[in-house]
Symmetry: C2
């Protein structure tokens, strides 16, 4: 099966860098989270609001993955957090080597937390370890509550599920059963932490930020 | 550059089947459209409503691509249209060979139009031709109006852009500048047809269905 061999070889190269990155974060006692979702789930809005809410509490650096533009990196720069942009030039996920290169451009020793915004894609990034401490999957309410069942891999592998845009539930225009999404995600992953949030309006951000503070403290021990 | 060679080899195999499928559709004078979007943009809802609105006018068969479940195929079966389910078992896009196999299970001679619902992914399916007559890209309003700029390939390659869930603009809870999305899409693709729709409420479905009827007639000439 030629196709499978090819997959293994590419993954092997990626895993070498992923392991190096993981050892780097462990040695430096830094938390690194890899944020994954479909395009338009609100990753950048979540990042920007999280950075602003945690100002003066924890220092955050960002690695922004995009296929072509630097629209998202510009939005993060407005928060004054250090940010490194990676353009994947068409590729559907970030690689561990790209993260290794980006880390050289971040003032890691001055940071408590490195947040990676992966390319908008619910499928491919879940297969490529970056050496992160954990994955955060974002599912926005208009995408539908069937997504954990339909795209199980990323929900099975994530530390946290952020259910975003819950403000859209108020108008009654969007059908989304939060309990169904939670139950499906927990069926795949007993340990997953779930925070329903609205990064636009602010709902649930305090709980999510508390979790981040505690996780940063644990990494620094 | 080993990686590029591998890409070419896989694409070569895919293109062989894509060409066969294209010749098949041309010979049979059937229209085949490949529908691509992020997860949760509303592809299945659009399909189901399109089939129902065109009942008695044109006969539609569906090929449903999903990573694991048959949730979408069940929703299409409820419309009584013939449907073939392809589970990609983790792969992030449909392949031309899968379409070739699925076509053997559809009553193609009795159909006017074959609609393929690709795996929910705005990136990878755009690189894999299936032999379709054209691509339809769906962008839903909550995903944001920056998506044509951020994911240009699929917008550059599509015949039609469906801007879905425009009913969500009414509440004022979603920022989406339709004119910006249209202008960005047309900058990438002068010929693209754009229909703002709400598959849930019905807005714009008549215009989209008219376009389908005309395109089916043109294919049958």
């Amino acid at each position: 099966m030629k196709k499978i061999d090819i997959g293994k070889k590419i993954l092997g190269e990626n895993e070498k860098y992923a392991l190096e990155n993981l050892l780097f974060f462990t040695k430096k006692k830094k938390l690194c989270l890899n944020i994954i979702s479909s395009p338009g789930s609100g990753k950048t809005t979540i990042l920007a609001r999280t950075i602003n809410e945690l100002k003066g509490k924890i220092k955050i650096g960002v690695i922004e993955g995009d296929i072509q533009t630097d629209i998202d990196a510009e939005r993060i720069r407005a928060t004054e957090a250090p940010v490194v942009q990676i353009n994947t030039e068409g590729s559907c996920h970030l690689s561990a080597r790209q993260i290794s290169d980006a880390l050289k451009q971040l003032p890691v020793d001055d940071l408590d937390l490195i947040l990676i915004e992966n390319v908008g894609n619910l499928v491919c990034p879940s297969a490529f370890e970056l050496g992160e401490s954990g994955k955060i999957v974002v599912l926005s309410v208009p995408e539908g509550d069937d997504k954990p069942a339909k795209y199980p891999t990323i929900f099975a592998r994530s530390k946290v599920l952020l259910i975003n845009k819950i403000d859209l539930l108020d108008g009654g225009q969007v059908d989304f059963d939060i309990e169904r999404a939670k139950a499906d995600a927990r069926r795949l992953n007993k340990a997953i932490e779930i925070f329903p949030i609205s990064a636009r309006r602010g709902d649930g951000m305090a709980q999510w930020c508390d979790w981040l503070i505690k996780s940063v403290e644990k990494s620094a021990e």
